[in-house]
Amino acid sequence: MKLLELLGYYNYWVFAVVLTVGLYAVIRKRNLIKKLIGLSIFQSAVFLLYITMDKVEGGTAPIIQKGVPDQVFSNPLPQVLILTAIVVGVSTLALGLAMVVRIKESYGTIEEHEILGAD
């Protein structure tokens, strides 16, 4: 019974696992691009958290139509929020990649330890 209860929260388990994988990549990887990929995974986990919490069992899109009786619908607000957060994530990633390009231009490498050794 207890186990089933835990498994019932499987969407949150996915969130936690993806989050940890991303964070691990950010900390452990030496290559700057790989770090950014990790960061991206890390952020995606949070998007999943927001999306999973707004889902109402059996809910549909929150659109009012004439002639259709009111229905159970999912909460649209977190989706709107996470849309904003995705935009933020994309721009952060773009800026990060731009930095990597400039680092490559001026140091000739994108391995963290080689950069630290260079100065």
Binding site: M53, P78, T84, S91, L95, S106, I115
Partner: protein
């Protein structure tokens, strides 16, 4: 106030600077007007798009935000006023309009965080200001800025994402994003575990942004290699704003709502603050590069602000808010003076700065005034906040005396590292090249530097204005709010 960045895409660089400065000054004027209104009594609320508070996104200015807003816009305007000559030397002409545009975006983001009363809105503004500041720091000619920015970007994004997770969990349990509404509804929540987890995520995330002691590693490098004017601006306000959100979130939403939360917060923040003060001060004592020395000392100063907040008393928050204001004045002035020095000293290591006082007497004098304020000598602004901090520490009971000891020891350490700067500037032999001619920094820069230095003394002698706002914010956050 939050508009205007796009104007700066104007092409000629003189025009770009003028536009940016005008926008900066205008927002400073608005901040002063808002602060005056708040001093008269009432909280200013603006509902964006005409939607009322719990549903729409509200902007709200009370005493605490007015104080921080003054600080942010003031630092932004002062740095912009002084920026032109220094930026001309460090940024290529064709990139300058973009540089100023990023600057204004950063300013707008920071101001937005301060006035926003909506948890998610704070996140968005936080990212706007962070992205802008990454660009600003990387804008300089120093290639070492790039890895520093990359580290800052990684850590800043992790911090912001942690904050986002926390906000998400709270939204899950309360169904609201408005801070005041959150405060009201969190009492009804039955299952407190998610809220506790959220408190943890939010605290850690914001501590990362604020460069609280063990999470500060991004700060010294980023500040050291940034263009000088950017350092002035960011050192004066960027981390303070994150601390502001931390204090506000914590005392508005969590305290009184979670059992033992005050105790937990103190237990978390107090050791970090003390360690931060002591470790960063001692690192600063042995630091050889002028800018890095000052940046490291910033970490210690953030420790002071956190220390005040960790008392969770009215006196503590007052001291914290005052120290935010005063430290911004002192550190802003110091970095301005550094920017002046950079005009004639390519290498800012202390060992290379010999004879500076003879060549640039006015700059060095301003630097000394701000340094005294940083130490907390009576008569300067720094003294007021350290005094308040010590009073608050004594009030906090059992541990009070040992904390006072910590503050005194670290002040002595500050004496040591400021003295090392003074020694280098005034008494060290000039290096062999032998150019000892009188060569002050450009007038525009020098005037602003001195204005800030004099403000340090002014607010040391007449601290009524920031003190009134700080008292107001403490009453609001700890005492008055139901």
């Amino acid at each position: 106030m939050l508009s205007a960045p796009l104007i700066v895409l104007l092409q000629p660089r003189g025009l770009a600077w003028a536009g940016a400065t005008a926008a900066g000054l205008a927002s400073f004027a608005i901040a002063i007007a808002l602060a005056m209104a708040v001093l008269d009594g009432q909280t200013q609320v603006y509902a964006m798009g005409g939607w009322a508070a719990p549903y729409g996104i509200a902007l709200e200015v009370d005493a605490f935000s007015a104080l921080v807003l003054l600080l942010v816009t003031g630092a932004g305007a002062a740095a912009l006023l002084a920026a032109r000559v220094s930026v001309d030397r460090q940024i290529e002409p064709e990139r300058q309009p973009l540089f100023y545009a990023a600057w204004l975006l950063g300013l707008a983001g920071l101001a937005g965080i301060v006035v926003s009363a909506d948890a998610f809105n704070i996140f968005v503004f936080m990212e706007i200001s962070s992205l802008a500041s990454y660009i600003l720091i990387a804008g300089g000619p120093d290639r070492r800025a790039l890895p520093a920015v990359f580290k800052y970007l990684i850590m800043g994004t992790i911090g912001a994402t942690f904050y986002l997770i926390g906000v998400g969990l709270i939204y899950m349990m309360t169904g609201t994003l408005n801070l005041a509404d959150m405060q009201a509804r969190i009492g009804d929540v039955v299952a407190l575990n998610p809220i506790l987890v959220a408190a943890g995520f939010i605290t850690i995330g914001l501590a990362l942004k604020a460069a609280v002691f063990p999470l500060h590693v991004w700060l010294p490098n980023a500040y050291t290699h940034a263009p000088h004017m950017v350092t002035v601006f960011l050192a004066a306000c960027a981390t303070k704003v994150a601390l502001y959100v931390l204090i506000r979130f914590d005392s508005m939403v969590f305290q009184d709502r979670l059992s033992d939360h005050e105790f937990q917060f103190t237990l978390f923040a107090l050791p970090l603050a003390v360690l931060g003060i002591l470790v960063a001060s001692s690192v600063a004592m042995f630091e050889g590069h002028l800018k890095r020395l000052l940046a490291t000392s910033s970490v210690a100063q953030i420790g002071y602000i956190l220390l005040g907040a960790s008392f969770v008393s009215e006196a503590g928050i007052t001291a914290s808010a005052m120290h935010m204001f005063n430290h911004a004045l002192a550190k802003g002035g110091l970095f301005l003076a550094v920017a002046c020095l950079a005009f004639h000293f390519r290498d800012l290591r202390l060992s290379e700065l010999g004879g500076a006082a003879r060549r640039m007497p006015l700059t060095c004098a301003a630097l000394v005034v701000c340094g005294l304020s940083l130490i907390g000598v009576p008569g300067t602004a720094g003294f007021i906040s350290k005094w308040l901090l010590i009073t608050a520490a004594l009030e906090s009971g059992l541990w009070g005396w040992s904390l006072v000891a910590v503050i005194l020891v670290s002040s002595l350490m500050a004496v040591v590292y400021i003295w090392r700067i003074v020694e280098a500037l005034y008494f060290q032999q000039a290096s062999a090249e032998g150019d000892t001619s009188f060569a002050e920094a450009p007038l525009q820069l020098l005037l602003v530097t001195w204005a800030v230095a004099l403000l340090n003394i002014f607010f040391g002698l007449f601290p009524h204005l920031p003190l009134a706002l700080a008292n107001g914010s403490a009453a609001l956050l700890v005492g008055g709010a139901p």
